[in-house]
Symmetry: C2
Subunit: 461 residues, 2 copies
């Protein structure tokens, strides 16, 4: 059941009868849907469909199930562990045309969107309301994809990840049932938390067709600051002390010297080339001043230089746009390279040790390795730039990553703070959670007994 | 499989071989474990065991499974929908002797506890650290029970419920496997969110034997205030406007005139007998003043009188102790009565309508019906005082509750904000989530194929 099968072309005929020219088997379209932002080689699906409604998704699922064809939901393809690759062939279900904001309930601080709406599109749509949606991975990903991968970002330290910010989902299951996981109330004790079961299930349990999300009022004062340090250790110590002091920073990100250099080149910015923390403070005028003063004092004790401020919205946006571009900027450090990205997250008390030991470890890598991350959560990334034509480079990067994962696990951390498992981290997941992974398999089998929903990702059956 | 069976006394012999005198079949002990704080008649288990370790729980589970005997975890028995009643007989596994705080990681703002530790015990234990655990249902429940029922309380509006505050669990499954659902990192994208699947599963998927919890720094300033209004409508309008303005209140609770009168009698307090909001504000001195001024202005616009303040810790504690006693105080309004409690939660924009229509509806009930709740979340309760010897009173209260649930669902709310499903709300769960309940059943079947873990609760198989 788990092996790739010969693709049954009658599936395409049935799909075309349903969707007309919104079914493609062209090489270009299939290739585009067979890769993400990871270094994994392209694994194209046999066909791509562009769905426009829940009913269409349900009908596609029913066709695929009857023919025992794998189905893989696709947003914009910015995952980092091969989540969307059609490693066993099948049909890629592109959700990008399901891109309507269905409702904005200003008075309840929530919105209901189709899964193809991107995070920037939503924020643009609600700009006039004085509300915003905080979860912001580097890419302008779709909210369906972000829910499916339990995405995170720079604001998570204050506002949480998709785990905390999805109120309810509509999901099409492998057997064609369409369920709604929860109501729109802010909290509920009504049965098993299906919402959070599907958040992070990476398309392996069902296909998300609607997402209800929490929104937040734009605060009276929102100020961003950049602070350069004489060492990465100084940065991490500052972060630890800030979090331990309970200062409610809205954002707290680290970029190393190499990363800031890459950003400067890519975005034509002029940041000082030094280990740097990016902060943001949200609240009333008075509380933002209080928070910033407290953090500045901590930074100063740890070798931090003066804060450079950005308070106007356009300046703050420019600053975080630079930060969000870091991954793509790093890729340019070695033209033609792909990235083997790492993603551990450790308890905050171990952050400095974990970053320090890791940077020592990777000193011997072929090229310098940028380090960056949402350190306020204990989450950081290394970007190993590899020549995709040289398997030995990929192998070497993977060895460093394995050691990093082992180090994080020894510190009671996780192998992935935000990128997810895909197929790239399945062995790490086993190292991290042991027999609990079998329980995930039990759940997968219960909801998708024929293993057709994004098979070969998260858990092996 | 679902019917009660004759209890096999050889189970008791095996349990006694394992636990000695920590196995009881006495009528008094069985009766104590056959009821909770609900109005449901006692349904005693056949035996009660007092576990002291995960290994003992696992061994008990293995014995029960071999004999196909139901098992029901028991904390302190303060659930409100019959969660712990042994409706099909079997063994009640009392966790109250597993009451050790295993670790406090001050620097990481977390703690690891055995499931029998109560919320007050934990807060007493960590008092010297400057940290606290916020989730506070009315009763001094066990943290294992609170995790199992996805408990909530007065602080949820700011700090979230057990959903947001459990970092990881250790769980004994029906087949005797012991799993750990997550690591201690603050966030993770490592596979399905088993932590949140077990939070709120009410003992039907496994038995929680260890809980890792988030802690929070005690804020520089924490001030509580009580504000009386000339109408409940004035209270609810104040709450809606406060939440919509994004003021980060730490607590925001409503007690109606009848409830405050009950509290005054029960706790010998002297609050003005009027619809009242209880607030608390956390933050720096400056931000607490800002928040309080903003809320006072809103309250004044809606018929609120002056704030009465409590800022010293002992005064704040007295105030919230009074609020927490509300349920028990209301019971005293009609000596000998039991309570049929309701628990809807609606989007905040519908709060005033839902409370208003409900109070109109219950005017005709036999005795006055107290209304109270964590209205900052849109969650409120009515306490129907019934004479347990008069089934027609219970029936009447249930009819009011059915109408209330229907009203809340029509407003996109939930049938239970915090009490959970137990067996009292299984039909309401179906009304709320439809086919999604079948998916819960699929998961239950996958993890507990013989339906031995607290059978007949949450989902019917």
């Amino acid at each position: 059941m788990n092996k790739a099968r010969e693709f049954d072309q009658s599936v395409v005929a049935e799909l075309k009868a349903l969707l007309g020219d919104r079914v493609s088997t062209s090489a270009a379209v299939r290739e585009h849907h067979g890769k993400d932002e990871s270094y994994f080689p392209c694994a194209p699906p046999d066909a791509v469909v562009f769905a426009r409604s829940t009913e269409e998704v349900r009908d596609v699922v029913n066709i695929c199930r009857r023919h025992r064809v794998p189905m893989i939901p696709f947003g914009v393809g910015t995952s980092l562990e091969g989540h969307v690759l059609a490693t066993r062939g099948g049909v890629s279900i592109d959700m990008s045309q399901m891109n309507q904001v269905l409702a904005v309930h200003e008075e309840d601080l929530d919105a209901v969107v189709q899964p193809g709406v991107t995070r920037k599109q939503l924020n643009e749509h609600i700009k006039h309301t004085g509300l915003f949606f905080p979860v912001d991975p580097g890419a302008d990903a779709t909210l369906g994809g972000m829910a499916a991968t339990r995405a995170s970002g720079t604001n998570a330290v204050r506002y949480g990840t998709m785990r905390e910010n999805v109120l309810a989902l509509e999901v099409v299951l492998a057997d064609g049932r369409v369920i709604r996981t929860s109501r729109r109330a802010k909290k509920s004790a009504a049965g098993y938390d299906l919402t959070r079961l599907f958040v992070g299930s990476e398309g392996t349990l069902g296909i998300i067709t609607e997402v209800s999300l929490r929104l937040y009022p734009v605060q009276e004062a929102m100020s961003a600051a950049v602070c350069a340090f004489d060492s990465v250790d100084g940065c991490t110590r500052t972060v630890i002390q800030t979090i331990q002091a309970g200062i409610p920073v809205a954002r707290c990100d680290l970029v190393c010297e190499k990363t800031i250099d890459a950003i400067n080149r890519y975005k034509k910015t002029g940041y000082r080339v030094a280990p740097t923390l990016f902060f943001e403070f949200h609240g009333s005028q008075a509380s933002v001043v209080e928070q910033a003063e407290a953090v500045q004092a901590i930074a100063k004790d740890n070798g931090g230089m003066d804060f450079e401020w950005a308070t106007r919205p356009e300046d703050r946006n420019r600053l975080w746009d630079a930060r969000h571009s870091a991954y793509f900027a790093c890729l340019q450090l070695r033209p033609g390279a792909r990235a083997v990205s790492t993603d551990v997250c450790v308890p905050i008390s171990r952050l400095a040790d974990c970053v320090h030991e890791t940077m020592e470890d990777v000193k011997s890598y072929i090229v310098p390795v940028p380090v960056l991350g949402h350190v306020g959560d204990g989450n950081f990334h290394l970007v190993f730039l590899v020549d995709p034509a040289k398997p030995q480079e990929i192998e070497l990067a993977k060895q460093f990553n394995s050691r990093l994962v082992a180090r994080a696990l020894a510190m009671e951390g996780t192998c992935t703070g935000e990128h997810g498992i895909g197929f790239g981290k399945m062995a790490s997941l086993r190292s991290e959670l042991g027999e609990a992974v079998d329980v995930m398999g039990d759940i997968k089998r219960a909801l998708d007994p024929e293993n057709l929903m994004n098979p070969g990702k998260v858990v092996a059956l």
